[in-house]
Each structure stands twice: as structure tokens, then as C-alpha cells.
Symmetry: C2
Subunit: 418 residues, 2 copies
Amino acid sequence: MPGSSAITRITAVDMRYPLPPGAGTDAVHTNPEYSLAVTHLETDDAQSATGITLTLGEGNRLVCNAIEILARPLLGRAIEDLMADFGSVSRQIANDSAMRWLGPHKGVVHLALASITNACFDLWAKARGVPLWRLLLELTPEELVGTLDLSYLEEVLPRQCAIDLIRSHQVSRAEREGILKSGYPGYDTSIGWMAYDDDKVRELTKRALARGFSAFKLKVGSADESRDIRRAHMLRECAGDSATLMFDANQQWNLPTAMRMCRDLAVLRPLWIEEPTHPDDLMAHVELASAIAPVKVAAGEHIPNRVVFKNFLRSGAMHYVQADATRLAGVSEFLTVSLLARRLGLPVVPHVGDMGQLHQHLVLFNHIALGHEVNFLEHIPHLRQHFVHPAQVEGGVYRTPQEPGASLDLVNLSVIVA
Amino acid sequence: MPGSSAITRITAVDMRYPLPPGAGTDAVHTNPEYSLAVTHLETDDAQSATGITLTLGEGNRLVCNAIEILARPLLGRAIEDLMADFGSVSRQIANDSAMRWLGPHKGVVHLALASITNACFDLWAKARGVPLWRLLLELTPEELVGTLDLSYLEEVLPRQCAIDLIRSHQVSRAEREGILKSGYPGYDTSIGWMAYDDDKVRELTKRALARGFSAFKLKVGSADESRDIRRAHMLRECAGDSATLMFDANQQWNLPTAMRMCRDLAVLRPLWIEEPTHPDDLMAHVELASAIAPVKVAAGEHIPNRVVFKNFLRSGAMHYVQADATRLAGVSEFLTVSLLARRLGLPVVPHVGDMGQLHQHLVLFNHIALGHEVNFLEHIPHLRQHFVHPAQVEGGVYRTPQEPGASLDLVNLSVIVA
């Protein structure tokens, strides 16, 4: 390494990316402008790194302002030194004596920590000249766990238990490394946005089938319930009997409505119903998951931290853990939730607030290092032209990224911050 | 009324109030600068109104910026018209299609909604020329419930159930109106901040006893557990056998530590242990509440919304509901949680992010209109010189406020926004 990669400049950047009409719409987000609150790091040896979190436009600036405040402790730190004890750094930032009041560990301040953390991991991998998945796989169990804040998990995942879990999967790693060659399967969310009309859904589904996808997600939670049902039947007909379907209500239903709609949608054999009700409503998820079996519940896109996940995972509230490293406190808390989920026997199928750029690394680590089963990774190509190294999805499969870092660098960003 | 009190100007103001050394300190907030993110409203008939939420300094500006964005729908609205359907207004703001992503219903955006909502209730009471408690008591059950967003509570508190609950207590109101004359009892939090040394705690306790208080709260959760135990014994000795004591860990403990400390502190017969662990950890609260009985658990200061409260209230996670109208979405969601708590048989003992200014109105309503028992209201006098109408606490009792509005007007604010 040419230098210590000490962080000499931190810039928060408010990046906005308008979408084509109807793209990204769902039951509660009716007019999204995909926006990234970016943490840009520069070092004394001319490295640069990018961390992101997603917002939907208005308010993105608030997250940038929070980044500016919370990232201060990083300035001047050499990246290897920083990451050797990143669990403590993360905990210190998350528990800033004043900013903590604005969460704690949720909302704007936690989104900011996500962006900051992801930039640190990007820089770390670049400084070592390897893609993030390789960096994570090459850490010892102790080094990996040292990047995590395991506080408030003591009764379920004490530090030694996390280390042992990783170590116990080391001997069998080779059996799982084939995924690096075959690529990680994807599923397509972009066929079924809420505002798309039937013809468009059909056309996009056919095109995705032709491109190799066999799993599709449809937005439900419309004010017109019959529209949801009609579209779901249409998708099943169009995609075929063997396709995997998922329905996503984006929190729109209350519990009685969710009960009714999940039963009505069950005839279409969905793999899961996603975000059936308010993401804070643990007991509603538990009641629902029990009532609609064998239909499964997926959630996580709006579950803010490891403590809430611990509660959902332990109580039977969900079957698919949609952790998101841009909602949680970045790579670090994503890995923590992945360890929790592995310990409690649940699969992690990320929600991709990063459009899959970062998560393509993390699902490889989850499978190879933690022994998580291979599922599929959400694919949303909206922003691909804005990434320097857009995820390569071919034949419905994410090709393993080879560039150093976390694949988060954005086109034109270095010009903007210059 | 001289006019329609249409809102013509909305200003968000970042007010900071440094505290004396040690004041306001606890296990996790070590250097607080009490700060208010203020919503200031002006009307076409020269009324003005004030809403607040509390922060601890750094980050207060973020909440002000969120207020500026979220309050836009209020502009031009006549106050009676606005409040006739405030439940819908509140729901619309909380579910702003883009800003919702930053919560939902928690963190910076929800604190902003608290400030906005409280300003609306202040303006409404002033426009009618009555103190807020009287305004609320004079509303019909339908009018009161019309100010609430009851979404995601359908299985526990459907609209008609809320109306019936209020109506069922109307005939017996006269029995409870004596509280308006006697005043609502207070308890003193200011004797036991974390950074105060033993002598100071003793001196302040004696002074508070002499001023008529008989209930006291002590900060615990120190890194030095023996310090907590020693101070707790000291307080019991100083306050006497008949005093009511509460211990507040401010979320510092993990579950194993909380189990141990609550048992060690039980010999001092506290009324409750407050915020024993992470505020998102429902199951830890349930386990703890069951394990440490008959010691009771209090929480709520950091419970962000009615959905999370519904979960805590239904699961036996807490015995005392410390709802705070500056953490929840203002008066409206506070009343919603008060209805929920009444329905589920639990007492509401507010945390006072407003220093009791607003909550002195709300506990009167809770007792008289909802039949909640008389408990006591937290008393923190730090900011009293900054309020135009500081709460009058005499003989350990809050005297019923008589000025029109919600008692939130701040000294010098009209000059600042002019």
C-alpha cells in the first residue's frame, strides 16, 4: 500500500436522480425521485471512496447535513486503524450524546451513519485493492466481529458466539465458493411498479423472462383492492406456473386488511407477502404470519436497526429478512443482522436501497462465510448508468464484481466534490 | 372571534438554552444543551402560536429544516377548518410520499411533526380564548377523535371505540373536576442528574422536600454500578421511608445488566425503573418486567409513535406509559396513546420534553375526560425563565394554567421571528 490512507476530506453530497414516469411507485411512495445522500472520502494518498444511503428526494439534504455532523470523528483517521476497531467507532457515532436524541438508531441520523459506514468499507477495500466481498472473506473472525457493534444483543449474540459462528463455517467454505463463478441469482422488481398499467406489466414481464429472470415482484396495496387481485392474476398468467411471485404492499395495509388481502392473494402461491403492514408493528406481523401460513412474510426495508430485527427474528414475525445496508447502519449492521438471522435460522434476502451495488458483495459473504442459503437478490436497474461500475446482471444472475471497493462510485461525483 | 385566524406565516426557529453544569445529564446524554425546534405561526388576525419539540443541541437545526418542509400544507388554512379534520391533516403530513422514507413516523421527521402539531393546538386554543385543557374538555367526542390519526390501531382502537370511551366518562366528569382546583401533583427530576455529586443530590432533595415534593427521580446507569447503588441508598435515606423514588437508566443497560441492577435496586422499593434498556427492545422489556416484579417498568420517552406504543402496551412490556407530546406527533398522538392506554388499563405519566408546560394541560384532560387516575407529572424547572407563562408549581403541585393556549410561548420569540 502506498500510504496509510488517512482521511483528509469528508464531503456530503446531495445527488438526485429523477425516474421515468411511474418507475419506483408503490402504495405509499407515489412520486419518488431516487436520491442518494453520499459520503465522499478523500485520503492523503489520493484514494477516494463513496458511501450511500437512499432517500426519495425531499429530505435528502437533511441526511447530508447529518452526515456532515456525524462523520467528524473520521477525519485524520488512517483507514486500517479505523477499521481495526470499527465496531467501537460505529457505536460512538451512533451514541453521539446529542444526535442520539434524534433517533436513537433510526431515521435521519441512522441513514447518515449508513452512508458514512459504507464509505469506510469502500475505502478499506480499495486501500487493500480488492472487491469488498473478498476483503470481508479474508478477515479473521475476530477482525470481522471487530467491525460490528453488538451492543443490546448480548442475550442472543454475544461476541464469542458471533466469532464461533463464523469459524464453524470456515472449513466448508470451499463448497460454497462456486457461487463466485456461477453468480448470484437475481429477481426483478421493475416489472410491477404501482403506476404501471397492465400492458406495461405484461410487456416488462415478458422481456424479463426472455432475459433469464424467473422471479418477479408486484406492487400491491392499492386503494382499489380489486386492482391488486386482477394484476396479481395477470402476472401469474403472464409469468407462468413455474415463476416465483412476490407481492409487496409497502406497509399500506392495516392488520384486518392485510389478513383479508393475504388470504385472497394466497391462491396465486406467492413466495412471500412483503411489508404487509406498518414496519413498527411487531405483534401485527406475528399475528399475520401465523394466520396466513403457508404464505410467508418478508420485511426489513424499513426496520431501522439490529435491536428491532432481533425482536422480529425471535418472535416469528417474518420468514424472509430484508435487511438493507442503506437503512441499517451500513455494512457493519447489515452483517450483524445477517449473523443474528443465521443464528436464528432465517434467510437474508436484502432490500436494495443501493440498487444491488453493495448488496451483491454482501450476499456472497453471507453465503460463503456464514453458510446462508443462496436465495436471490433484488434487481432494480433504475440508476445503473450513474454508477461507475454498474452491477453486471446477465441471464438473471449477478456476475461477481471484480473491481476494488464496494461498487458504489458514482459518475461525475469526483467532479462535483472537486 | 375577530377573524378566521388563517395561517399566513410559518417560521421554524432553532432555540438553544445552555444549562448549568451537570444539569440534565444522564447515563447516555452527557452534555445536553436543551434546545427547542420551534414552530411559530402567525395569522391574518394577528394571532401567533408556538409549538415545540426538544432536542439536546446538535441536530436541532435538522428538525427545524424538517418543520419548514412538512408545515407547508398549513399555510393559508383557517384554524377552525384545519382542526375540524386534523386527524387527516396529521396523517397526510406523516405520510408525505418522500419525507416518510426518512422515518416512517420516527426520528427527525416525527419530531418536526410534533412541533407543528403543538403549534396548531396552541393556535386553536388561543383563537377560542381558552387554555388548551379547557378547549379539549369542551370538544365533543367526535370532534376530539377527529383530531387523531388512528390508522394502524384498527384491531385495538377503532374510531367508534375511541368515541365511546370518551362518551362513557362524560357523566362522571364532575367527580374529577376537583383536580382543577387542587392542582395536579408533581415529582422532581432535578435532584438527581448523573453528574451531580452526593452533596448536591442531598441538598437538592432536602430543598425539594421543603418545597412540598414527596417523589423524586434519580439517574442510574453509570459505568460504575456501585455508584448507582450508593446514590440510590443515599437518596432513600435523605428522602425518608415514605418518599416515592424512581430510578432512570436512560436506556444504558443491556438486558443481562438490567436484570441484575433492577434486582439490586429493588430493596429500595422504587415505584418504577425507567428506560432500563434500548427503547426499541420490546421483548427485553417484556422479559424484564416479568422477571423483576413487583418492581415496575416505565418507558416512553423514546418510543416514537402510537404503533410502537400499541405493541408495548399490549405485551406487558411496561407498567407506566411515559408518552411525550414532543416525541410523539404532538398533542394529537399523545391523546391517541392516552386513549390506547386507558383502553388497555395502564396509567399515563408523561415524560416532559416540554418541561411540563404542555403536559400540564394534557394530564388534566386525561384525568377528567378519560378517567385516567391522578398520578404525578414530572417537574424540570430548567427552562422556566424562557417561557412567557411558566408552569406554576407550588407545594409540589402544578397549579391549573388559565392563560389561553398551550403555555408554550417563549420569551423573545416574537422579536426573533419579526
